[in-house]
Each structure stands twice: as structure tokens, then as C-alpha cells.
């Protein structure tokens, strides 16, 4: 209870800070991560700080407050539930380029401070039957337009935003796991124990639905399309981390997707390469499209090279069956 009160205090503190205006973002003062904060104890001593748009400003040193989470822009819970206006995000995964490099997996884990055994993105070995060709299939949350998971949530802890993203509020989730049984794609993972090895600064920053870190014990987590990155105008980490340009991310309203190197028309890409959505027959209307694994850049076997024995055994378990 006390902890919650503290947190809400922190939140109002942050809100005041946003009202403070020009000084939002990462200000750098005397080499340490410090930013302005609307405190009451004025010292009279003025300090120069730099705003996000590069202007210098002078504030009272008493208003300075140590801020370790400057890198994540704080969005209020209400805003985070609405989403980014006039946007509709979409992802295209080009299966012909994937060689199971697994950089997306580790980038996602770093970004969200997940342990190595918790994967929000999985790269799966797919082979429908013995007579069809095996291929690698990265799987994120599909951010469905008819999400079965948000439908069943009893408290609205997981919700669909106007910009298409399906998020989880880890401070509201009661851990009933109904969404996990409802999701046909096994996209959701549960925090069975307390998250470990989380840096102090992440633990101390106020919770944001958009950052997804740190995860909360007893609640559900999943791929969130990195809305905090999008807000900063950046691509989700899996997209930029992929060395083979497998992931394209974009906005269906703008009809544009990009993998960082190439920027393409979404509709043309889907038309030219016969894009499809996984298990369309379920009626979930995913926001993630796949391009079929034809004319591949890498032979399938190259995906098994360089894998740890541990990782290999995961795939062997599957192929043996």
C-alpha cells in the first residue's frame, strides 16, 4: 500500500515535470544523468541545462532531480491506453530472409530486461509435414484486430489501442492467465517469479505501460511492438537488430513499411510477394504479415549453424516428433 502511494507520488512528480515544459527529455548536466524537476526547495543557484531540441536553459539547482529513466519518455497511463493518434501499425516478416540469426530475440530481451529463458519473440522451426520444406519463422505478438486475449480479460489489463497495438498493464493485471489460454498463437508469457538482475535505474523509474520494463511478478507479458521506441520515432529493437532485414515495420495508414535499410509500399510488397497472415482462418485479423519463404537468401540448414547445444535441443525436440 505504502509502496503504491510512493509510486503515485512519483507519478504526479513526473507529470509536474512534463508541465514544466521545455526541459523534457534527456538533459545532461556536468556529465551525470540529471534532469530538471519541479521541486519546491529553491537554492538560488542557477544551473544551465540543455533541452531535447538543443536549446540551453537556466534553472534553479534545487529543481534538479536525479533521473535515471531519462531515456524513456513517460506517457501517462490514459495516453498509453489510447495509443498514438492516427496511426495503425503493421509488421511484415520476410521469411525468405530469415536464417535464425536470433539477434531479434536477444535485442528484445535486452530492451525489456528479460532473462535469457524468457522470449517475447521466438524463432520457430516450421515444417508442416515431412514432404514440405522446413523454414524459420520468427513469431512476435500478432497485435490482432480481433484479439481473443483482450476480449476475455476480466479487468481490461490487456487492451487494444487505436493505433493497433495490444498492450498489457502490469499494474492492473490480476494474473488469471485467461488471456494466455485465449491466445491461439502462444504469444504470451507469464512472470512466474520475480524478475531478476534488473538494473537499479529501471526498477526505480515510474511504471509505464509502454515500456514494458521491469516486468511484474504474477502478471502476463508479451511482445509490445516497442511503443516507447515508436513514440521517439524509432523502430522497434527487433527490426533494427536483425542483420538480414527480415522485419519491416510501418504504418498501414501511410502504406509504408521499413526495415531500416529499405522503405517499401506496404500494399505493393504484400501484392508482389503474396503476403499472408498466419492462421487467417481463426478470424483474429493479425497485424503481422508474412512473406512466404521462397527464393531464400540462405539455405535452411544455415540457421542451425552456430546455435548453442541448448538451443538446438529445442528444435530437435520438435523435429523428432
Amino acid at each position: 500500500m505504502k509502496k503504491e502511494q510512493n509510486q503515485s507520488k512519483k507519478k504526479t512528480g513526473r507529470r509536474n515535470f512534463l508541465k514544466f515544459g521545455v526541459l523534457a527529455g534527456g538533459a545532461v548536466v556536468s556529465g551525470v544523468g540529471l534532469t530538471a524537476f519541479a521541486g519546491d526547495n529553491k537554492t538560488g543557484e542557477k544551473v544551465k541545462v540543455m533541452t531535447t531540441d538543443g536549446k540551453l536553459a537556466e534553472v534553479d539547482s534545487g529543481m534538479l532531480h536525479s533521473c535515471n529513466s531519462c531515456s524513456s519518455s513517460y506517457v501517462s497511463n490514459e495516453e498509453a491506453r489510447k495509443g498514438i493518434p492516427d496511426r495503425k501499425f503493421v509488421m511484415v516478416v520476410d521469411l525468405s530472409r530469415c536464417k535464425n540469426a536470433r539477434k531479434c530475440v536477444s535485442a528484445c530481451q535486452n530492451m525489456h530486461y528479460l532473462p535469457k529463458d524468457k522470449e517475447w519473440i521466438t524463432v520457430n522451426l516450421m515444417q508442416e509435414t515431412e514432404t514440405t520444406a522446413p523454414y524459420w519463422m520468427p513469431k512476435t505478438c500478432f497485435h490482432c484486430d480481433e484479439p481473443p486475449c483482450t476480449k476475455v480479460c476480466p479487468v481490461g489489463a490487456t487492451f487494444k489501442r487505436d493505433d493497433g497495438i495490444v498492450l498489457i498493464d502490469n499494474e492492473r493485471c490480476i494474473g488469471c492467465k485467461f488471456c494466455m489460454t485465449a491466445c491461439p498463437y502462444s504469444a504470451r508469457v507469464f512472470n512466474w517469479d520475480k524478475p531478476k538482475n534488473i538494473p537499479e535505474e529501471i526498477l526505480n523509474r515510474p511504471y509505464s505501460v509502454e515500456s514494458g520494463a521491469p516486468q511484474v511478478v504474477g502478471t502476463v507479458g508479451k511482445c509490445d511492438f516497442c511503443p516507447d521506441m515508436i513514440r521517439k520515432g524509432k523502430l522497434p529493437d527487433c527490426v533494427t537488430a536483425c542483420p538480414n532485414g527480415v522485419y519491416f515495420f510501418g504504418d498501414i495508414n501511410e502504406d509504408t513499411v521499413t526495415n531500416g535499410d529499405e522503405t517499401l509500399r506496404f500494399s505493393e510488397l504484400i501484392k508482389d510477394k503474396a503476403g499472408y497472415r498466419y492462421m487467417e482462418e481463426l478470424g483474429t485479423q493479425p497485424s503481422v504479415y508474412y512473406l512466404p519463404p521462397v527464393d531464400r537468401n540462405f539455405p535452411f540448414e544455415s540457421g542451425l549453424k552456430g546455435l548453442s547445444e541448448e538451443q538446438k535441443s529445442k528444435y530437435h525436440f520438435n523435429t523428432d516428433k
Binding site: V152, I174, K177, S186, F190, W192, V217, N318
Partner: protein, 449 residues
């Protein structure tokens, strides 16, 4: 209130039951309390360490707890449906057994939902169900239905007890404490057996028994829909609601027979609970087993015949003797056919044999709930790609077993306490002359069946 001599005699017969706490009672209580304390310790560990101490992992997110939940809500049908229907039909032989049935209902409707709470990752946020409850979610349907059910079944039991409470209040010979006497007076809410009061009470009981039946049906249907509303093989079935309802009445009748047997032995109630009760309830069990068997056959036949990939994957697990084959054989075939054979053949039908097959049926139904939940969750639509055995195959840990045993212990202990408070045989009912039913005597009608 003036108590008739016949009532007095019967009460005298039962007074040792509610006056004395003998050694057997104390030893059994001590054992049950130890089990309950151990369960509390397991609960403490789970809350302290997180659900990592359970056998549940990302694929099998529901396990023993949800199986127990469905099971306990199922056996609560004993009082709600059986006692409700028998009351409405004015069946004479119901009189000595309805209190046992209603005790089962009230206790299991309280214990069942406790297992849902155990399955929640954040029990500390349960108030969110009120703050942010979404009517679109089947869990909220469940919360509403079960709350109504708990209140309804308490009311039903209480109304049926008022006459006995008044008798206990007006029996000064009883050797009981001051507080207990006061509680009888308080709970009897001034009932004095006047004609007006009697009619009012009788009408209320009749209305309540009519209300409790649809509520019970709704509760188990909603529960089935929690599974039926998901895109999962083995769950996403249109017959799940009636299937669950029938399974519930089946298990409720089974538990009622076992409880009657135990009381008959423990309190020497041979005079009141007779072979007739076991015969009639046995027949009911037989009919229910047949309907339940029909549903089971229909469900698995349609899944197996088309063998759509996803359904086939689940069935492969259920029919494979290296996986769940033996359990399936026990739960879906032996647990149904054995009661039908033993009860169906008059030579085999004795009080002990009916009780034994009822017990087997109840265990089989518990296993069936487990088989509904676990194999389906082990077979997600997107095949599991993992090498961690606990992620692939569920096996419950000591924490889950301890809490399961704790639930059973609480069930038995609550029973013992309640039957110390009021006579397990409704004194006011059995001392009354048979009710007159219009034009046709249902009692005789039932006997000729």
C-alpha cells in the same frame, strides 16, 4: 413454541450428536487441522516465491487448481439440484437426506472458488475485478454467477433449517453452551410455528428451491464457457455447457451417496437412511451416468471421426497409453460403465457396493476435469518448441497437492462442524406426517420406477 412429543423423542435421539465432542471427533479434527495448516504453509510459499513453486508454466497455465475448482462447484449440485428438485416434487424419502445434500452444496460452493483465487498470480489485486470489471469477460460472468450461487445456496440451507433452529432454541434440556443457545435464538428469527409463519416459510423454501435450480445450471454453464470460449482443441465445443452440467449433477449425486454412507455409519442412522435411499439415489446415478456417458461418447466421437489436426493432437495424447491413456480409460469408460453395471444388476446392488461405485465415479470425474484442462493446454495450436520438460509436460508440485488436500480437509472439517451445530437429519421434517400431493402420489410413482 410448543414441541410435539414425537419431535422431542427424535431430538433426544440426536442430542448426543450435537452435545458431545467424543475422542473420535477430536482425533479426526486434529488430523484435518494439521493438513489445513500445511496447506496454509504451501499458500504462504506460493505467495512469497511466486507461482514458480507450482508446476504450471507458460503452456499449462492452469492445472490442479482449476480442476479442483470445477470439481467442487460440480459436487455442489448435490444440494442445489437434487434437493431442489426433490423438494419441488414433494418426494417423501428426501426428508432425511436433504440436509446432507445442502451441506455439501454450501461447503463446496465456498471451497471451489478458493481454488480460483489460488490460481491468480496477483491475489493482492483482486479488487480490480470490482474497479475495472468488464462484462465482456466470461470470468466476470463467473464472478457474478458464483456470488449469486453462494448467496442462494446459503439462503436455501438456512430457510430449510429455521424450523430445526427453533426446536433447538425451545429445548432447554440440551446440554449446550450459552453462546450456542443464544445463536439458535438469533438464527431462528422468532419462528414459533404459527400457521402464518409456517406458510410463509414453506412458500419461501419452495420459491428458493425453484430459484436455485436455474442458478446452479447457469453457474456450471458459465464455467464451461470459460473453456468453450477459447480457440483451443478439446475446449472449443458447443456441447460443453450441458456436458459440464450433467457431469456436475453426476458427481454431486456420487458425493451425496458417499456422505450419506459415512453419516449412516458414523452416527448410526440406519433407521433414517435406509437401503431405499441408496437404491433410489443409485438409480439416479445410473441415469446420470448414462446421460454423461452419452455426452462423452458424442464429444470424442465427433472429434475423432474428423480428426482435424488440432483435435487429433489432443486425442493422440488422450488415447496414448504412454501419455493419458490409462487415465482416460478410467475416467471416461470405467468411471461411467462400472456404476451402471453394479447399480443396474439388482444382485450386485447393496449399500456398500453403491457407495463404492459412487466413490469411484467421483474420483473418475475429478480425473476427467484434469484431462479436460491439462492435455489441451499441453497442445497449443502453435506447437511447443522447447526443451524444458516442465514447459512441455505439466506435473503438479507439492504446493499444489498440499493445497488440494487442504481443500478436501476443509470440506470434511466444515462438514463435521456443521453437523455438530444442527442435527444432520432435519428433525422437524422427519417428525412431520407425509405431505399430501394432489391427485397423484409422487412417492408411490417414484417407487414403481
Amino acid at each position: 413454541m410448543k414441541i410435539e412429543n414425537k419431535t422431542k423423542e427424535i431430538l433426544k435421539e440426536f442430542s448426543p450428536q450435537i452435545e458431545n465432542f467424543n475422542r473420535r471427533f477430536k482425533i479426526l479434527s486434529a488430523i484435518l487441522i494439521v493438513i489445513m495448516l500445511f496447506a496454509l504453509y504451501a499458500f504462504y510459499m506460493q505467495e512469497k516465491e511466486g507461482h514458480i513453486v507450482t508446476g504450471m508454466r507458460d503452456n499449462v497455465v492452469w492445472g490442479l487448481y482449476i480442476a479442483n475448482f470445477v470439481f467442487f462447484i460440480g459436487i455442489s449440485y448435490a444440494g442445489a439440484l437434487i434437493s431442489g428438485i426433490l423438494h419441488l416434487l414433494k418426494v417423501e424419502w428426501r426428508k432425511p437426506i436433504i440436509r446432507v445434500a445442502e451441506f455439501i452444496t454450501v461447503i463446496s460452493t465456498v471451497i471451489g472458488p478458493l481454488f480460483i483465487l489460488l490460481c491468480m498470480g496477483r491475489l493482492d489485486r483482486i479488487y480490480n475485478l470490482v474497479l475495472y470489471g468488464r462484462i465482456q469477460s466470461p470470468i466476470i460472468w463467473d464472478v457474478i454467477a458464483i456470488t449469486t450461487y453462494i448467496i442462494g445456496s446459503f439462503l436455501f440451507l438456512y430457510l430449510a433449517m429455521i424450523r430445526d433452529l427453533a426446536i433447538l432454541r425451545d429445548s432447554p434440556d440440551l446440554k449446550i453452551g450459552k453462546f450456542r443457545r443464544w445463536s439458535y435464538k438469533f438464527l431462528a428469527i422468532g419462528y414459533n410455528g404459527t400457521a402464518k409463519q409456517d406458510k410463509l416459510l414453506e412458500d419461501s423454501i419452495t420459491i428458493m428451491s425453484a430459484i436455485i435450480i436455474p442458478i446452479a445450471v447457469i453457474v456450471h454453464s458459465v464455467l464451461a464457457w470459460i473453456f468453450g470460449m477459447t480457440l483451443r482443441p478439446g475446449w472449443h465445443s458447443t456441447i460443453f455447457a450441458p456436458y459440464f452440467v450433467i457431469a456436475a449433477v453426476f458427481s454431486g449425486t456420487g458425493v451425496l451417496i458417499v456422505a450419506l454412507w459415512a453419516y449412516r455409519r458414523y452416527f448410526h442412522l440406519e433407521k433414517y437412511i435406509t437401503k431405499k435411499h441408496f437404491d433410489y439415489l443409485g438409480m439416479l446415478l445410473l441415469i446420470l451416468a448414462a446421460i454423461y456417458g452419452y455426452f462423452t461418447f458424442s464429444e470424442y466421437l465427433t472429434d475423432w471421426y474428423t480428426s482435424e489436426t488440432w483435435n487429433a493432437r489432443v486425442l493422440e495424447k488422450l488415447f496414448n497409453f504412454n501419455e493419458y491413456g490409462w487415465w482416460f480409460l478410467f475416467a471416461a469408460i470405467i468411471g461411467i460403465l462400472l456404476p451402471m453395471i453394479v447399480i443396474g444388476i439388482p444382485k450386485l446392488r447393496t449399500i456398500n457396493s453403491v457407495t463404492a461405485v459412487s466413490f469411484i465415479a467421483v474420483i473418475a470425474l475429478w480425473v476427467k476435469r484434469y484431462l479436460i484442462i491439462v492435455p489441451t493446454l499441453e497442445t497449443p495450436l502453435f506447437p511447443i518448441q522447447d526443451n524444458r520438460i516442465e514447459w512441455i509436460k505439466y506435473s503438479a508440485t507439492w504446493v499444489e497437492w498440499a493445497l488440494t488436500l487442504g481443500g478436501v480437509a476443509t470440506f470434511i472439517f466444515s462438514f463435521m462442524l456443521l453437523s455438530k451445530y444442527v442435527p444432520i437429519i432435519p428433525v422437524s421434517l422427519v417428525s412431520k406426517p407425509p405431505e399430501k400431493t394432489e391427485s397423484l402420489n409422487v412417492e408411490e410413482k417414484v417407487e414403481t420406477v
